[in-house]
Amino acid sequence: MTITVGLVGNPNVGKTSLFNKLVGARQYVANWPGVTVSRTEGATVRKGYTLHFVDLPGVYTLSATSIDEKVTRDYLFFSPPNVVVVVIDSMSPEQGIYLLLEALELNLNVIAVFNAVDELRKSGTVVDRSVLETFLGIPVVLTSAHTGEGIEELMDKIIQVFKGGDRPKVFPYPEHVEEELKRIEPLVPKELAQRFCALKIIEGDKFIRELVGNVGLSFNKEIYSALATDIARARYNFATDLISKAYRSSGRLLTLNEAMDHVFTHKFIGIPIFLSVMYLAFNFTFKASEPLVKVIETLFEKLSTLIGEENIIVSLISQGFIGGVGSVLAFVPSIFALFMALGIMEESGYLPRIAFLVDRLMYRLRLTGRSFMTLLLGFGCNVSTVMAARGLADERERLTTILVSPFISCSARLPVYLMITAIAFPKYRAEAFFAIYAMSILLTAFSSRVVNRVILEGQSVPLIMEVPRYRLPKISNVLTYTWNRGKHFLEKASTIILTASVVIWVLSYFPGGGDVEKSFVAMLGRLLEPLFKPLGYSWQIVTALIFGGVAKEVVVSTFSQLYGTLEGIKMDPVVGASLMIFVLAYVPCLATIAAVRSETGSWKYALFSVFYSFALAYILALFVRLFGGFILSVC
């Protein structure tokens, strides 16, 4: 027997954390609002029942205007689950209770979960569950996704409610609202949740109004605006009343650390602090991963020389497999370290504050702090930004975010930077990284302006965002985060990069029989070399860049295959700098192009992305080469 369970709640109340506890899935959890864009599902077995959970995007109301609000509303409305679990943050329950009252109107089995009771206890507050149950008329479970408290009980309650099937009682509104409800309700088709629809019609929900059709509404819009206010007020009155009855506290509920916010979101030093934090994160990335990187590098090199390259098979294994894939794998520790740093920033609640700090700037770019957070995902992989952009309510903002996302420096570019900095300016690696990431942000901003000038016209959409309280990052969550972002990289190493390495090996082995200088790639590289002459790139670099179009890491494996090893390569610092910028900007990788094509539904945007970024990369790289050369000659 399968029971479907929908997890509903405000953003950032712990739905995903609970989901992970319930189904044991290693699903990504974030401390910023709105990260669950599409719905995520998972199942577990309990007492002979299969509990099938659906983790829905966080919302404040079931009146839907943005895409993620629609996902949640449509799921509850058109494919109602057997049991709805409304997750409420026990530290700030008012908005959660409001949503709960809306969900109750759907006439489904509902359980209320008050989550994060561990934090509540720490703040010296107690909540009386029986009071909550009496006044809400539905089962209430107190849980903590951090300690696991209440999880088993929740599962049992779900089964119990499913079997018992007692529908919640009706929440009464003020008399004049009820009168209008009584008039509209019979006009709503029986198969729909009548009371829910009648309420949404009064509240002015366009979708439900269209769905139900004419119910003889008055032309005077003011009436409905006043009624909607009364409905909302009735819900909030109930919520505050309930809380005053059920909660006993020793002070203010909220534990937002104001001293921390005084510094981190400070008018003048907030942004400098953010930049310093990023700089520290990069430094951490190298310091923490350096020893491990060295070990792996040596290991693969030893392995490669051990095998040698006497004949074609041996060469394929040592050069193609080990050399190609190994050179990329060596950077895995650095990538994991960077994600760990990002994960800590996210779990602690710092990232939404950055969105808050930069919103004004994003506004100038016709974006919002929210698209800023979507773009931040791109530091992992640009494809995730392109996909996550679905969560943005405004179509223009969504398209802009998709089109500028390739300029966010994804983790696949990390190994390339790591390689170039090691070769060209080993003494200034952290500085070079800081510069390239700053460049990445500048290019993204600049492109956003370009996109809004050239292809799309419009204004920024409203930003209403919750700023979560600071939390001590939970190590297991940070590790999950790191693993989920990093594993993608390992998967790529064993698929795309392996394939590309073999292809490159084939093209560099034939027809010269192992002599790279006489191979196909050399021909190809030399053919295109004139195009890159102004930039000062050798044919090996050109070849590496061509293959890097498949996936950026491939630049590294191509380098190691063409030069035999990464150790002895010499590179002019200016060429190095120009190459770094070129790698940052030139053409999105194949996966990103495909994602842009499918998410925008047109080749037009995908092609724009390719040509625009290539042109930009070329111009910038040329500029760095000329200007850098000039500076060096003067010094």
């Binding site: 009146s63 205007t65 329950p93 008012e94």
Partner: protein
């Protein structure tokens, strides 16, 4: 009592919502708890003054000024106000919104939290240490409540 736009209320002031201008986002504002009769606290502004954080019940919400201007509010009777925005009279200092440098400066002229001060009609401030001209910038950072 006069009403004003939420976006025009200075930081650290507590207000009560009196009305909402109807727009696309009104349902969400209502659901978050921004509706007539509810108390809001203006917390702090981002660089360049936009967006700002507000406390709504026990959540902290970031709103842009363009949205906050849709919300009509009146200042709560018991709300602390910046010394800059109050009429002459006797006041108790409830909060000094600044770092230790500002606090030290103000302490030297007898302005600390809980101290009683008088705002004179000429804009100068009388404390136990004498009469001083604080300057507009500092007066905006000293939050006071009327002496009953």
């Amino acid at each position: 009592m006069e009403t004003l736009k939420l976006s025009d209320v200075p930081e650290n002031v507590t207000v009560e919502v009196t009305g909402l201008e109807e727009s696309e986002i009104t349902p969400r504002l209502r659901a978050i708890g921004i509706l007539p009769g509810v108390r809001l606290e203006v917390l702090k502004a981002a660089p360049l003054g936009d967006p700002r954080m507000y406390r709504v019940f026990n959540k902290v919400i970031s709103l842009r000024n363009s949205e906050a201007s849709l919300v009509r509010v009146k200042i709560s009777d018991d709300s602390p106000l910046p010394l800059l925005n109050v009429p002459p009279g006797d006041y108790v200092v409830v909060r000094i919104d600044g770092g230790w440098m500002l606090r030290n400066r103000l302490a030297m002229v007898g302005i600390v939290e809980e101290s009683t001060i008088t705002l004179l009609p000429d804009g100068r401030v009388k404390t136990t240490a004498g009469e001083f001209d604080l300057g507009l910038g500092r007066m905006a950072k000293v939050f006071v409540r009327k002496v009953k």
